[in-house]
Structures are given as C-alpha cells and as structure tokens.
Amino acid sequence: MEKSSFDEKRFLKKMLEESALEPGNDFLSKVTQRIKKKNPLPEYLYKPVISFKAWILMSFGFVLLIAFVVSQAPETKAGPLNEYLTPVFSAVQNLQLPLSVNPFVAVILFSISLLLLLDFYIKQKQKG
C-alpha cells in the first residue's frame, strides 16, 4: 500500500502558528522598565576624603601653629596690630622661601589645597 505523503507535524505546526497571538507593542519596554525599577542603578554617594573630625583637628593644628609662630616672634616697637601681624608675615615669608625655590612643590601644595577645599565644599553642599 502506498504511504501517504501527508506531513502531520508540519500541518499541526502551521495550524498552531496561525492561531498564535502577539503580545502588546510595549511588551519589551514594560519588561525593561520593570527590571530598572527592581534593580535601580546604585546612586553615587560622595564620601568625603577628609572627615568632619579631621577638619576640626586640622583647624586646631593650624591655630596652634599660628599661636606658636606668634609666640616665637621677636618683640618690636610697632603698634599693637603690627606687633601681632609682623611675626605672621615673616613666618609666611619663611614658608614662601622653599616654594619659590621649587615651583613643583608649590603646584603640588596648591593642588592639594584646592582638592581639600573642593572636598569641603561638596561635603557642605551634600549636607545642605
């Protein structure tokens, strides 16, 4: 007996494919949105390089340094304001001396100060 060439699997596949439905046009965007909602990107949190305590300690150290410089300065016969300021100026002049010798050091110190200031500014802004 001749065997039928009818391909049942093919017929059923075609038949089922004809009945297939399509999901909504926004299916992909809905999935993407839901994934983003469930797994949001981690928010960037600024962590200051120098903590608040460190800033207080540094300020305290700076005040101590000034006080030390003032106390070590020689006595002058100038007015009361000059009496206090002259040693500070001379101390600053002393500090400037090595900087003028090596501009590379000056650039490094300037950059560090700038970064510290920036760090302080960002920290303050974040608090606000």
């Binding site: 059923l12 009945s19 297939a20 399509e22 999901p23 299916f27 992909l28 993407t32 839901r34 994934i35």
Partner: protein, 191 residues
C-alpha cells in the same frame, strides 16, 4: 545554525549588557506569551505572566549554567509562573496503560481546513485548542510550535518522557475530534 545564538546574548547579558537581554526578550516574547496564554486563556494575564517570567529570568541569569537551552529554561519559568498564577495543580502523572492506542489522522482535516479562509481557520484552531485541558494545550504548543523534543518538554514540565508522550497523544486525539466536529458543523451550515 542560528548565527545569532542565544548563548552569546546570555553571556553578554550576564556581564550586564542590557541591550543583549532586550534582544533575548524580543526574540522570545511571542513564544513566552503564547505558552502562558495556553494555560491562562486570558490575554492580560498571559502578558503579565510572560513579563514576570522575563524578570525572573533576568534576576536568575547568573544561575543559568547553559546545561540546557536558554529557551527550555525560559519555558520552564513561564510554565511555573503560569501555574502559580492560576493556582491549578501541576501536571499530574498518568497511568500509561489506560491509554487507547488508536491513532488519529489529520489528513482529512487538513483538506477541509485548507478550504477555509484564514480568519475562519484561526477561530476554529482557537476553539479547538480551548477545548483541550490547559496542560495538554501547553504541551502540544511546545511540541509543534516551539519544536521541543519530548525530553525537553519533560524537563520543562517535570513530567516523565513517557507521560509527555501520552499527554501529546491525548492532546492530538482531542484536537482531531474537536476539529472534525467543528468542520462538520461548518459544512452543515454551508449546506
């Protein structure tokens, strides 16, 4: 061979490439939606379940070891999510011995079917598929539409291969009976 194989996109998606995952969603959205629809029989629910399945897949992507095909893994998640949604029982194991071994032939059905307009055909197929139990409708779709082997279907549904074969046989038989009946009625109306 599929040039843009799933494996490549899975690796990229695992590495955090969202576009690669979007590609996989686009590739399988219709299949996932239709399979969910076979169980839920409601468009809105099927769409929601298919979306849920894709989100679960994304979350568990790092667990996927490529031991099975990506599609098999996805269909298993679609199946489990659909079952959870309907709260119906998982596919039951059946007594194979009780099955009637009589084969069905779709050849006559196909001749009548070809004479129908596309829209009518769609209605009849939908009607006959809805007459099947959800699990059989799901299995028959996996086998004929998605070209899954009985082994893959067994993996997806957690049934034994012999149970899958019996369920497929039953589904084909019911589908044949339903289609024959519907087409007979169609002829009667025409007459």
């Amino acid at each position: 061979m599929n040039l843009l194989n799933d494996e490549t996109f899975v690796i990229k998606a695992k590495a955090g490439d969202e576009t690669a995952y979007a590609f996989l969603v686009n590739r399988y959205k219709s299949q996932a939606f239709n399979l969910a629809y076979r169980i839920l029989r409601n468009r809105e629910d099927a769409e929601e379940v298919a979306q849920d399945a894709f989100i679960k897949v994304y979350e568990k992507l790092h667990q996927f070891r490529s031991e099975s095909k990506f599609s098999t893994w996805l269909y298993r998640i679609v199946y489990n999510t659909s079952i959870s949604k309907t709260r119906i029982k998982k596919l039951d194991y059946i007594e194979i011995q009780n099955e009637d071994g009589e084969e069905v032939n779709f050849e006559a059905v196909s001749y009548d079917f070809d004479r129908l307009a596309a829209a009518e055909r769609k209605i009849y197929i939908s009607k006959s598929l809805e007459s099947l139990p959800e699990d059989e409708s799901f299995i028959i779709s996996l086998y004929y539409m998605e070209d899954c082997s009985t082994e893959e279907i067994a993996d997806i549904t957690s049934l034994s291969i012999s149970n899958v074969k019996v369920k497929l046989f039953r589904a084909r038989k019911k589908l044949h009976t339903e289609l024959t009946l519907l087409l007979k009625n169609e002829v009667k109306t025409l007459l």
